[in-house]
C-alpha cells in the first residue's frame, strides 16, 4: 500500500511531539484534533489534549476571537500535559496563524492552508502584508497546502454539494497529519463510517478527504520535511480508553451509585464547562439515573437535597457562578446533615470571567463559601481520568458521613482527555449504606441526630420507612433529638460536633503519598489539574539530576493526616496553583509553614518550563 512507502527508518524518531490544530470555529478543528488523538491512542501512544475555543458560540468567521484550537501531545512514555509549545502547528486561516504562531517552537513545522490567505481574511486577522510571502515565517518549516482545492477535487465524486464540500477539509488535515506521524487511517475511517454511515455522500466525502490528505503527504514527500515518528508509549499493561474529565466524572458518579446501591439523582443548570456532565448522565437512564435540568442553580441544589432526603445518591454540578448561588442551600444540607455531592468545574473568574478558560480559583470559596461555621469535605480531581475515582471518593464521604462534599474539577480536567487504564470494577470501595432500621430511642421514637459513635454521622431514615417519621431543618438542632434548639450550650456542642465530624474524616483517607528522592530538598505540592504539569516538571528536573519530592492532594479538607509531617520534612515547599495562591494560604493558616507559591491566573495552564524555572530558582 502507498502508506508504506515512507519507512520508519526515514522518519525522525521522537520521544514526544506536540501538535496543534488551529482554525476558524467553523473549520472543525476540535473534531480534527479528536480524530487524530484517537488514532494515536489506538496506536499505543500516551497522550494529553488541550482544547481551546471561543466563549462565543461562533465569533465572526475569520477573526481572531473566532479561532478555535486543539492541542495534543503524544509520546512514547507516560506524559501528562498537552505540552507547552507545539512542534507542529496546523493553521487553516490567517487568524489562526496570527493567534498561534508565537507559541510554535523555533524551527517548528507549520502546515498552512494557503488558499485561505487572501486579502479579506488577512485584513480580518489584522495582517497588513501576507505572512506567506513577507518572510515572517522564515524561522519555521513551512508546508504549504492548497487544502481547499485539493479537498474539492477529492470529494467531487462523493455526492456532496454546496457547503458540505469544504466541510471535509478538516479530514484532509487529519489525513496529512496521519501521514506525518505514521498513524493508521483505519480508526478514523471506522469512526467516519459509524458517524455518517446513514449519509453515504458525507461519509464518502470525509473518507476521500482523509485519504487525499494522507496521499498528499506521500506524493509531495512532505514538501521536503522529514516525517515524524513517535513510537508507542511504554504504558502499564492493561485495557485503555481515551477519556475526558467530564465523562470520567459522570461515569464515576454512576459507579458510585452502583457501589452504594442507590439510584443516582443529578440536578443541574447548564453552565460551561460543567454541562457535559449533565449531557452524559442524561444518556444513561438505563442505569436508573435521573437527571433534572432545573430552572437555576438554586433549584438544582434544592432538588438534589430533596432527592437526598428521599434516599437517593444526590449530586448537583455547576461552575463558579453556580456554586455561588448554591451556597445558602449547601449550608442547609450541612445543617440537616444530608449526603450531597456538589461538583464545581472551575473556570476563569471572577463573575462571568473567562468561561472557557482554566483556573483553580474556587478553592477558598469551596472552603469558606458559606455563612456561619460550616466546614465541608473537599475532594479535587487531578486529571481527566482521575475524575472517575474522585467522584467515587466524594460520594463515599458524603454517604458515610452524612454531609455535603465539594468535588472540584476544572476546565483543564473537564475538557482535556488522556488515556485511562480501565479500573477493575470489582475493586470499587464498599459504599453500601445502612439506613436506619427502626426506632432508636427507649420510648420507641426515631431520633434523627443519634450519631454513629465512630463516624459521628447521624442516622439516615427516608420517607416510606414506617415509624421513623421525623422533621429536619435549617434552624439549630438539638443534639440527639434534632428538635429546634436555641440553647447556647447545645449550639456550641453542635458546632463542635459538625466540625469534628468533618475533621475526623482525616482518619479515613489515605496518607499523602510522596514521590521523593533521597535527599530531596524541595517538595512540589499540588492539587487538581496542576498534577500533570508538576509531574512533567519533576520528570524533567530529575533527568537533569535534581533531587525532588512531589505530592498531590486529592483531599483539601480535611488534609491527609500525615500532611503536616510531610511538610515539615522538606526545607522548601513549592505550590503551583492556577490562582493567587489559595492552597498556600490554607497551609500557612493550618500549619504555619512558609510555603512558596508559584501561581498565575492567565487563562492557560502552567507551562512545564514555568514550574521548572521556579524550582531552579529555589534550588540555587
Amino acid at each position: 500500500m502507498a502508506e508504506e512507502t515512507a519507512t520508519i527508518d526515514e522518519r525522525k524518531k521522537l520521544e514526544k511531539v506536540v501538535i496543534r490544530f488551529a482554525g476558524d470555529s467553523g473549520d472543525g478543528m476540535q473534531l480534527a484534533g479528536n480524530r487524530f488523538t484517537d488514532a494515536s491512542a489506538a496506536f499505543g501512544n500516551d497522550l494529553a489534549t488541550f482544547p481551546s475555543f471561543p466563549a462565543e458560540i461562533r465569533a465572526p468567521a475569520g477573526t481572531l476571537p473566532g479561532v478555535s484550537s486543539f492541542q495534543v501531545q503524544i509520546a512514547d512514555f507516560d506524559i501528562l500535559t498537552a505540552g507547552d509549545e507545539p512542534d507542529v502547528l496546523v493553521v487553516m486561516n490567517p487568524a489562526a496563524l496570527k493567534a498561534n504562531l508565537a507559541d510554535l517552537q523555533p524551527m517548528g513545522t507549520l502546515v498552512i492552508n494557503t488558499e485561505a490567505f487572501e486579502d479579506r481574511n488577512l485584513t480580518k486577522a489584522g495582517y497588513e502584508s501576507n505572512p506567506l510571502t513577507d518572510g515572517s515565517l522564515n524561522g519555521y518549516k513551512v508546508i504549504e497546502v492548497p487544502m481547499e482545492s485539493l479537498t474539492k477535487e477529492a470529494v467531487k465524486d462523493s455526492g456532496v454539494t454546496g457547503r458540505d464540500v469544504l466541510r471535509s477539509k478538516n479530514m484532509f488535515a487529519v489525513g496529512l497529519m496521519a501521514w506525518l506521524f505514521h498513524r493508521p487511517l483505519e480508526p478514523t475511517v471506522e469512526w467516519i463510517t459509524a458517524k455518517f454511515g446513514r449519509n453515504e455522500a458525507v461519509k464518502n466525502a470525509n473518507v476521500s478527504a482523509l485519504k487525499a490528505g494522507y496521499n498528499f503527504g506521500i506524493t509531495t514527500e512532505a514538501t521536503k520535511t522529514t516525517p515524524f515518528e513517535v513510537a508507542p508509549a511504554k504504558m502499564a499493561p492493561g485495557e485503555y480508553t481515551t477519556i475526558s474529565g467530564n465523562l470520567a466524572l459522570a461515569w464515576g458518579l454512576i459507579a458510585a451509585s452502583q457501589a452504594a446501591e442507590l439510584p443516582l439523582f443529578y440536578a443541574s443548570y447548564p453552565i460551561t464547562p460543567a454541562s457535559d456532565i449533565l449531557h452524559e448522565l442524561a444518556r444513561h437512564k438505563n442505569f436508573g439515573v435521573r437527571t433534572f435540568q432545573a430552572e437555576d442553580e438554586i433549584a438544582a441544589v434544592g432538588a438534589a437535597i430533596g432527592a437526598s432526603f428521599g434516599g437517593h445518591l444526590a449530586v448537583t454540578g455547576t461552575s463558579g457562578p453556580g456554586l455561588a448561588l448554591k451556597s445558602e442551600a449547601i449550608s442547609l444540607a450541612f445543617m440537616a446533615e444530608l449526603p450531597l455531592v456538589v461538583v464545581d468545574v472551575q473556570r476563569g473568574g471572577p463573575s462571568t470571567g473567562l468561561p472557557t478558560k482554566p483556573e483553580q480559583s474556587d478553592l477558598l470559596f469551596a472552603m469558606y463559601g458559606r455563612h456561619g461555621e460550616s466546614p465541608l469535605p473537599i475532594v479535587a480531581a487531578a486529571s481527566p481520568s482521575d475524575a472517575f475515582a474522585s467522584a467515587i471518593e466524594a460520594a463515599r464521604l458524603a454517604l458515610k458521613y452524612m454531609t455535603p462534599v465539594i468535588l472540584l474539577s476544572d476546565n483543564t480536567v473537564a475538557t482535556g482527555a488522556e488515556p485511562w487504564r480501565l479500573p477493575d470494577l470489582s475493586e470499587l470501595p464498599d459504599m453500601s449504606v445502612r439506613f436506619a432500621e427502626g426506632p432508636n430511642s427507649a420510648d420507641g421514637r426515631f431520633l434523627p441526630y443519634v450519631r454513629d459513635p465512630e463516624t459521628f454521622a447521624r442516622q439516615w431514615a427516608v420517607p416510606g420507612m414506617r415509624g421513623l417519621e421525623h422533621r429536619l431543618g435549617g434552624l439549630e438542632k438539638e443534639e440527639v433529638t434534632g428538635n429546634v434548639s436555641y440553647n447556647p450550650q447545645n449550639h456550641q456542642l453542635m458546632t463542635d460536633t459538625r466540625a469534628w465530624k468533618v475533621a475526623n474524616i482525616a482518619n479515613d483517607i489515605p496518607p499523602l503519598e510522596v514521590d521523593s528522592d533521597d535527599g530531596a530538598e524541595i517538595l512540589l505540592l499540588g492539587w487538581g489539574s496542576t498534577y500533570a504539569v508538576i509531574r512533567a516538571a519533576c520528570n524533567r528536573l530529575r533527568k537533569d539530576g535534581h533531587k525532588l519530592a512531589r505530592a498531590h492532594l486529592r483531599h483539601l479538607n480535611p488534609f491527609p493526616p500525615n500532611l503536616e509531617g510531610v511538610l515539615r520534612s522538606y526545607e522548601q515547599i513549592l505550590i503551583p496553583e492556577l490562582n493567587m495562591g489559595q492552597l498556600t494560604r490554607l497551609l500557612r493558616a493550618e500549619f504555619l509553614v512558609d510555603a512558596a507559591s508559584i501561581h498565575k491566573t492567565a487563562a492557560t495552564p502552567f507551562k512545564i518550563t514555568e514550574v521548572e524555572n521556579r524550582v531552579m530558582e529555589m534550588l540555587s
Binding site: 499493561p237 480508553t241 432538588a303 432527592a307 417519621e469 431543618g473
Partner: protein, 334 residues
C-alpha cells in the same frame, strides 16, 4: 395501626405549637390533621416541605416526614423529592413571602412542570415571622414597618399568577372555613399533578382583619363566591348575585337582572374562563371566589421521568458499567 384507624391526634407531634394565640395557622393545621386522618395515606409516605416563615413551621407539627428548609426553596426541594420518589405524597407549605417573593420562580416552574406536589400558600398578606413588612400580596398603600408612607408595590393575584404559569390545579380557600379548607385539601390531593391552593390566613398580630370581608358575620354572606364545577356562579344572601361574562370580562350583577342562561357556569377545565374569574377580586376586599378554579389533567413530571427510565431500560437493558467505560473504544497495552 392501619390508615383506617388514624385519628387527628396521630398527626400531632410532640412539639409545642409556637404560633401567636389566635393565628389562623392553628385552624389550617387542625384542618390538615383532620384531613390526613381520613385520607387513607400511610403516615410514613407523607412529607411536608416548607421554607421559612410562620407558616413554614408547619412540618414540625405534622407527625409525618418533614423538612423545614430555607426561605423560598421548598417547591424546588419538593420537586427533587417527588421526582426521586413518586411513591410519596409530597406537600409544600409556605407563606406569601416564601412562595411568591423569594420563592416565586420555583413556584411557577413547579406548576408548569406539573410535579405531583401539593402547594399550600398561607396568604396572610404580610411577612409575619420578620415582624410585619408588606409582602407581594399586600394591598397597595399598606402601612408597614418597611412602608411607613404606604406600600407602592402592586400585588400579585396569586390565582392569576398560577394560571399564567400553566398550573393544572388552582384553588382558593380561607382558614376560618374549615370544612371548605378540608374539601380543597382533598381536591388537591385527588388531583394528579401540581396543585396550588391559596389559603387566606389571618395574622392577628401584624395584619389583623385582612380577611374581614370574607369572615365578618355579615360581610361573608355577601362576599364569598363559592365555585362549583358545572354549576352557575351565584352567591350572596339567597343567591342574590351572580357572575356573567360581559365583553370578555367576568362581571358581577344581580341574579334577578339576568336570565338564567346568561349566568356563567363554572368550568374547572377552562383556564381562560377561570382566569377571568380570578380577576373578579384583587385581594379579599369585596366579592371573592373561593373553591377550585382549575382542575385539568396533564401527565406529571415524575411519571414521564419514570417512563423514560423504563423505556431506556427496555431498549438498552440494565446499565452495564463495564460496558459503559468501554463505550468509546479501548486498546490494550500488553
Amino acid at each position: 395501626m392501619t390508615t383506617a384507624e388514624y385519628t387527628r391526634t396521630d398527626f400531632q407531634t410532640d412539639q409545642e405549637v409556637r404560633w401567636c394565640p389566635g393565628c389562623g395557622d392553628y385552624t389550617i393545621l387542625a384542618s390538615m390533621q383532620k384531613y390526613m386522618a381520613g385520607a387513607g395515606i400511610p403516615r410514613e409516605n407523607v412529607v411536608f416541605i416548607s421554607g421559612i416563615g410562620c407558616a413554614a413551621r408547619f412540618p414540625y407539627y405534622m407527625e409525618t416526614y418533614g423538612l423545614h428548609s430555607i426561605h423560598g426553596r421548598a417547591p424546588a426541594i419538593a420537586t427533587g423529592l417527588a421526582t426521586a420518589r413518586p411513591d410519596l405524597s409530597v406537600w409544600v407549605v409556605g407563606g406569601d413571602g416564601d412562595m411568591m417573593s423569594i420563592g416565586g420562580n420555583h413556584l411557577i416552574h413547579a406548576l408548569r412542570r406539573n410535579v405531583n406536589i401539593k402547594i399550600l400558600m398561607f396568604n396572610n398578606q404580610i411577612y409575619g415571622l420578620t415582624k410585619g413588612q408588606y409582602s407581594p400580596t399586600s394591598e397597595q398603600g399598606k402601612l408597614t414597618k418597611s412602608s411607613p408612607m404606604g406600600s407602592i408595590d402592586h400585588p400579585f393575584n396569586p390565582v392569576s399568577l398560577a394560571l399564567g404559569a400553566e398550573a393544572t390545579f388552582v384553588a382558593r380557600t380561607i382558614d376560618m372555613d374549615a370544612k371548605h379548607t378540608g374539601a380543597m385539601l382533598e381536591a388537591a390531593h385527588n388531583h394528579t399533578g401540581a396543585a396550588f391552593v391559596e389559603i387566606y390566613q389571618n395574622c392577628n398580630v401584624f395584619n389583623n382583619h385582612a380577611f374581614i370581608h370574607l369572615t365578618g358575620k355579615d360581610e361573608r354572606n355577601h362576599n364569598r363566591i363559592y365555585l362549583n364545577h358545572g354549576e352557575p356562579i351565584v352567591f350572596g344572601v339567597d343567591d342574590e348575585s351572580c357572575v356573567v361574562m360581559r365583553n370578555g370580562l367576568a362581571t358581577i350583577t344581580k341574579t334577578a337582572s339576568v336570565g338564567a342562561a346568561e349566568i356563567l357556569v363554572h368550568d374547572e377545565t377552562n383556564v381562560s374562563q377561570s382566569f377571568a374569574l380570578s380577576r373578579l377580586s384583587h385581594g379579599p376586599s369585596g366579592p371573592t371566589p373561593l373553591g377550585v378554579f382549575v382542575d385539568r389533567s396533564r401527565p406529571t413530571y415524575e411519571s414521564e421521568v419514570d417512563q423514560q427510565l423504563a423505556g431506556a431500560h427496555a431498549n438498552k437493558g440494565a446499565g452495564d458499567l463495564a460496558k459503559l467505560i468501554r463505550s468509546l473504544g479501548t486498546w490494550v497495552v500488553e
